[in-house]
Amino acid sequence: MIAALSEEDLERHFEHTLEKDQRIEPRDWVPDGYRKTMIRQIAQHAHSEIIGMQPEGNWITRAPSLRRKAILLAKVQDEAGHGLYLYSATETLGADRTDLTERLITGRQKYSSIFNYPTLTFADVGVIGWLVDGAAICNQVPLCRSSYGPYARAMIRICKEESFHQRQGFELLMTMMKGTAAQRDMVREAVNRWWWPSLMMFGPPDADSPNTAQSMAWKVKRHTNDELRQRFVDMSVPQAEVLGVTLPDPDLRWNADRGHYDFGELDWDEFKQVVSGNGPCNAERVEHRRKAHEDGEWVREAAAVHAARQKERQR
């Protein structure tokens, strides 16, 4: 028989598990706030993978070599896979994928705002790999140690595949920079467009990030937004040098005292606009997902009806 435990006992046990740096597993008792935060965090991540297929998927049919086409198709396919791993992690917390999808297509749940920017040239495919996937890796590697076990495990797989993605992006840009003048121009123009939005991927400054403290205490977030942003800038500057592109920030310079690069202020007004739904592509992204989901309704229904009928026949 199991003795009835008070809420405090359960809470204490939960805290103790975290203190020992052990993972929380699906059937453990967790505080409502933790469950809510985890579902929100993982669902937003899953939605980001799925919506993120659109800007890159946009270029698959036009990829200028068969090798690049295969790489891009495989990459976008990986993103569908990542979305599935993550939705399945939310289901261990009692969420339901159908319900989460509903929330996404009705605009009640968010996804990474980076995907609300348009992809305008083939160089964007490379820059997304290098900068956007690079920023995602900075964000995600610490999540491999998230206190929530299923999420941490999904992140291990995802990070591994993301590193391929970043590599292919960088390699594409290297190849283009060694190509014609028109290709080099294309790369520089794309870097100029994506640099600032990539820095915004880390979220608002710590001072404006109300959930950070609680998330750090629960070990579902391991570093603050500004820490991760700094790390990303420090990583990217030498990469840009190798590539031979100039990052579009006149304030970007090495600060020997801090041991980090200083960089300019982000355009937080633009950030707020994109987050609140008025970015260049917010409406199109959600509408596209909604249409695909609704167009597929009859197919999903048919499969369910057929499966039920088969079961009936076997009886």
Binding site: T61, A63, R67, Q183, A292, W298, H306
Partner: protein, 287 residues
């Protein structure tokens, strides 16, 4: 980064190719003896490899257009897999064609620098993307036909073509299985899905005859026509799916010429405009 042991086993570091099928190579035929065996007509072999390669490239393009539009995320992954497989087949076949005709043309030369009448794919492969019922119908017809063909091409006199066919068989078996299972679910699903699946078959069927019309190149190489196997498989699947074989006449040729002769549907020009736009806009570029 610390990896859990169990996952390490699943995502082996040495296993880069797992990530992207068909992306891990530059020259698909490097190390393979690619000299044309004596007794094999090199120009016919090249022409035939182009036909098969074009079928794969062009149908793969239609599958790529499904990306982000699939009815469920699991199918998103499956359709992309099939598209990747066919893209891989196209690359191998183009590489073979470039060797066999002695021109040394690359896979990208074939894909991006030919004009419409030089493409030799069957018209079925280029049909504009419709709904999921149409996709399954075209995929069922295409993969059943191609699997039957590849099962015979493993005995090809050209060892390279035989090897390409052997690799393709595994892939096509999977494609046919995917299509057949969905055909049964849709056919024997709801009233609406039955209707859509039947309509999909109706749009694919006029192009079936063309698959089995033996072209001069095929005759020269002695390529068999696997009509019987095709009919058997299709009738089995359609019966399980409670669907009927459409009774529609074949779509006529133009002065006796169809896809294999470079005469296509109107949809083909738009497909190529999309496929080739970037490659053609940057002459001399390397990607």
């Amino acid at each position: 980064m610390a990896f859990d042991n169990a996952f390490e086993a699943l995502t082996d570091a040495s296993d880069d190719s797992r990530w992207a099928f068909g992306t891990g190579f530059e020259d698909p035929l490097s190390g393979v003896d690619t000299s044309v065996p004596s007794g094999v007509d090199g120009s016919a072999l090249a022409a035939y490899c182009l036909m098969l390669g074009d079928d794969a490239l062009i149908f793969s393009h239609r599958l790529q257009q499904w990306c982000t539009n699939a009815p469920e995320l699991e199918d998103e992954v499956a359709i992309a897999n099939i598209g990747l497989d066919l893209l891989g087949q196209a690359r191998l076949l183009f590489a073979r064609a470039g060797k066999a005709d002695g021109s040394g043309r690359s896979e990208d030369d074939f894909a991006f620098l030919r004009v419409e009448h030089e493409f030799r794919n069957v018209r079925l492969a280029e049909l504009e993307r419709g709904d999921f019922g149409q996709l399954i119908a075209v995929l069922l017809v295409f993969s059943t036909w191609r699997l039957a063909l590849f099962s015979r091409l493993v005995d090809s006199e050209d060892a390279v073509l035989a090897a390409i066919a052997a690799k393709g068989i595994k892939e096509l078996t999977y494609h046919r299985d995917y299509a057949a299972r969905w055909a049964v679910r849709l056919g024997d699903g709801t009233e609406y899905s039955h209707e859509r699946m039947q309509a999909g078959l109706g749009s694919a069927w006029p192009y079936v005859e063309e698959l089995f019309a033996q072209h001069d190149v095929e005759r020269r190489l002695g390529v068999p026509v696997p009509r019987e196997e095709f009919d058997e498989v299709l009738s089995q699947v359609l019966e399980a799916a409670t669907l009927t074989t459409p009774e529609v006449p074949p779509r006529a040729a133009v002065a006796g010429r169809t896809g294999r002769d470079g005469v296509h549907t109107e949809a083909m020009g738009f497909l190529l405009a999309e496929l080739q736009s970037v490659a053609r806009a940057y002459p001399g570029a390397t990607w």
